[in-house]
């Protein structure tokens, strides 16, 4: 490394000369606008190209020509930066203690953080801690802001089926927040078990499966008493609806508060031993995917990608996980728009998978998955499993309609139908009739 000891070396290569001519400071007006637009994008303000074009009519053509490129480039750049960061997340996390919390073991990697089970040594309680795993994250004011905002937003959503957030903290350059530890398993774990066995999957069994690396799991005495054990079978249709109902209600509550979840999928819904479902891992602090640029209308967006933090093991795990998130995205999200109905769609896809134990959209690469979603190409639940009750299938199909305008207008509307199904009420099919569709199709032709 160069040192200052040698005076010859003291001047830095490429150090600019001073004496900038004062008379050449006038900037191109368009460049000033580009700079402002980029700056706003970088701060997560989602500036509108059309607003710019209208305000600066003189430059409208150039704005419409260049700004979409800038928007795309900005989102690519932050995705790439996050990808570079993700690569540097170590397999074994070097920190074992955050304030009074001792990190017991890793529960999972997803979203933009690593989740740990932790022991609060001041109270003896077990908690879950979500950690932004990059040292000096506290230096990147923007990231810390977004992460803190995510914590604060979730903390503000008080609902029995939404995970509780207690505190936000920083420690030695790391940011984290503290949540309830849910003693249970995620729905994707449950779906996996249901796929494996035609028999009953018992609640205590899946609970053990989720915690098999813990030594202090006590054998539940209930397991000895057949008949009193809670369990699910492949055809527990009403139980599946009972699982989806509180999720729809929780989403409705969040939507009322102006918060989109953005990442509803089986892995983010936890089922505890008593059958209570808890929605976790709100994707509110995340930056748009390259596929969903210009996310105006979303309450928040930021420097974080939707892509999950890769397990450090292999590249295939990376793409596997990214597809895992993509699979539940509504078609309009792939085109850069979203609203509460995109969450409804994702819940529909999740319920589809729970009921059929088969993902709705399966393909090897992202592009193909996107195509399937955009073309609404999937087999109906009853094509896969004819025993599925018609009403339950109708709810799934209503939620998965490709046009948000045809779908349930809110999570609450979906909850109403789920409750209706549980009371054996008839479920209205929202799919537009062939006649309607044809008329609409023609009326949309230019």
């Amino acid at each position: 490394m160069t040192s200052a000891a040698n005076p010859e070396d003291a001047g830095l290569h490429g150090l600019p000369m001073s004496a900038d001519p004062e008379n050449l400071r006038a900037r191109e007006p368009l460049e000033v606008l580009v700079s402002r637009f980029s700056e706003e994008s970088r701060r997560g303000l989602n500036p509108s190209i059309e607003d710019y074009a209208r305000r600066y009519a003189e430059w409208a053509d150039q704005i419409r020509e260049l700004f979409p490129l800038i928007e795309t480039l900005e989102s690519w750049k932050s995705n790439k930066e996050m990808e570079c960061l993700r690569r540097s997340v170590p397999q074994e996390f070097p920190i074992r203690q955050l304030g009074t919390y001792r990190l017991v073991h890793e529960l999972g990697r997803g979203g933009m953080g690593i989740v740990f089970e932790a022991l609060d040594e001041s109270t003896g309680r077990r908690r879950a801690i979500k950690l932004l795993p990059w040292r000096y994250a506290t230096d990147m004011a923007q990231w810390q802001d977004q992460f803190q905002r995510e914590a604060r937003t979730i903390a503000g959503l008080r609902h029995p089926n939404i995970v509780r957030v207690y505190a936000f903290g920083t420690c030695e350059g790391y940011c984290y927040y503290v949540m309830d530890l849910i003693p249970g398993v995620s729905l994707d774990c449950l779906i996996h078990r249901l796929r494996e066995t035609t028999d009953v999957v018992y609640a205590d069994e899946i609970q053990r499966a989720g915690r098999d690396d813990l030594t202090d799991v006590t054998e539940s005495p209930v397991s000895a008493v057949k008949g009193r054990r809670r369990g699910l079978r492949r055809d527990s249709w009403t139980d599946f609806a009972r699982i989806a109902l509180p999720v729809a209600q929780a989403l409705s509550h969040a939507h009322e508060a102006g918060v989109l979840h953005n990442d509803i999928k089986p892995a983010n819904l936890l089922l505890d031993i008593n059958g209570k479902v808890v929605v976790t891992d709100f994707g509110i602090g995340r930056r748009v995917q390259p596929d969903e640029k210009s996310l105006r209308g979303a309450p928040m967006s930021s420097a974080f990608t939707t892509g999950a933090i890769a397990e450090p093991s292999s590249d295939s795990a990376v793409s596997e996980q990214q597809i895992g998130t993509l699979r539940y995205m509504a078609p309009e999200r792939l085109l850069g728009r979203r609203d509460i109905r995109s969450d409804v769609y994702a819940l529909g896809v999740t319920l589809y998978e729970l009921v059929t134990q088969t993902p709705a959209f399966v393909a090897d690469d992202r592009r193909r998955v996107m195509e399937l979603i955009l073309n609404s190409q999937f087999r109906t639940p009853r094509q896969l499993v004819p025993q599925i009750p018609r009403g339950l299938e109708t709810i799934i199909l209503n939620a998965m309609l490709p046009d948000p305008g045809d779908r349930y207008p809110s999570a609450e509307a979906m909850a109403v139908d789920l409750a209706g199904y549980l009371k054996n009420l008839p479920i209205e099919d929202r799919r537009p009739s062939l006649v309607n569709r044809t008329v609409r199709w023609f009326s949309r032709r230019p």
């Binding site: 900037r27 303000l45 490129l69 570079c84 390259p290 596929d291 792939l334 085109l335 992202r366 046009d403």
Partner: protein, 259 residues
């Protein structure tokens, strides 16, 4: 449905200027802080140097992440590069007054730049980077390193049939086309977009007037757009996808659908 809510909003209170006012105040406060720190650094205060370095750290990280050769990505931790650069800055504190009075950020950036060049020479061998010091328009980077960095940072977003071979080929193709770009245009793009330098900072790094830097940037963006339109898999796919989902094309922006 559609975005009528948004469109009817008066753009003048649509939030474009409001955050900016706050931002400007922020920048002013920041400038005052930097000026105070600079004065202390000139007096030889090492802790002020550390504080200033930590203010710039995120921006410097971004630069390292961009400039790190694709072959070193994943092998070299940008934090370690910044650590080395910090030691170099401490050794040079007595030159701060002479070299950094115009912009302390540019001074730190130059130090990080030099650290990176040394690092590349060490890892990639002298012959790979021996042209580094004299070829360049931008502070000692060989003219091909910026284009390969840009190709690397752009090619992760290819949406085309994603076999790795294809992706690598396209990145290579992009690299070649970027190399054909005017060198100054390319550097302006790298500094303005990838390193997120301001217009005046870019002008200073490239030794040109702010006016020239400003014009160059607009021109370079236009060129880049043309390039990305030529290379398959960048800008064309999304439009194709949009056409396919004609029904979703009038989807709504608003939180609450108007039904």
């Amino acid at each position: 449905m559609s975005n009528s809510n948004r469109e009817s909003a008066n753009p003048s209170d649509g939030g474009i200027d409001k955050p900016k006012a706050g931002r400007e105040a922020e920048i002013e406060r920041g400038d005052a802080r930097v000026a105070a720190l600079s004065q202390r650094i000139i007096d030889g205060d090492k802790s002020a140097l550390a504080e200033l370095f930590s203010i710039y750290r995120p921006r410097l990280w971004r630069m390292v992440n961009f400039r790190l050769h694709p072959r070193l990505q994943g092998r070299v931790d940008p934090d370690d590069v910044l650590q080395d650069a910090w030691i170099m800055a401490v050794n040079r504190i007595s030159y701060f007054l002479r070299d950094a009075t115009h912009s302390s950020f540019i001074w730190f950036r130059m130090i990080v730049n030099q650290t990176l060049i040394d690092l590349h020479r060490h890892h990639l061998g002298a012959e790979k980077r021996n042209a580094a010091r004299d070829v360049s328009v931008n502070s000692a980077w060989a003219s091909d390193s910026t284009s390969s960095s840009m190709a690397f940072h752009l090619s992760g977003n290819l949406t085309s049939p994603s076999s790795a071979v294809n992706r690598a080929e396209l990145a290579q193709q992009l690299d070649t086309i970027l190399q054909g770009m005017n060198e100054i245009d390319r550097e302006v793009l790298a500094l303005r977009h990838f390193e997120e330098l301001s217009n005046s900072e870019t002008a200073r790094v490239l030794n040109m007037s702010e006016q020239a830097a400003s014009g160059r940037y607009i021109r370079a963006l236009g060129r880049l757009k043309q390039i990305l339109e030529i290379v398959p898999g960048f800008l064309d796919d999304k439009q194709a996808a949009a056409a396919r989902l004609r029904r979703g094309a009038e989807g709504s922006d608003v939180m609450r659908p108007g039904r």
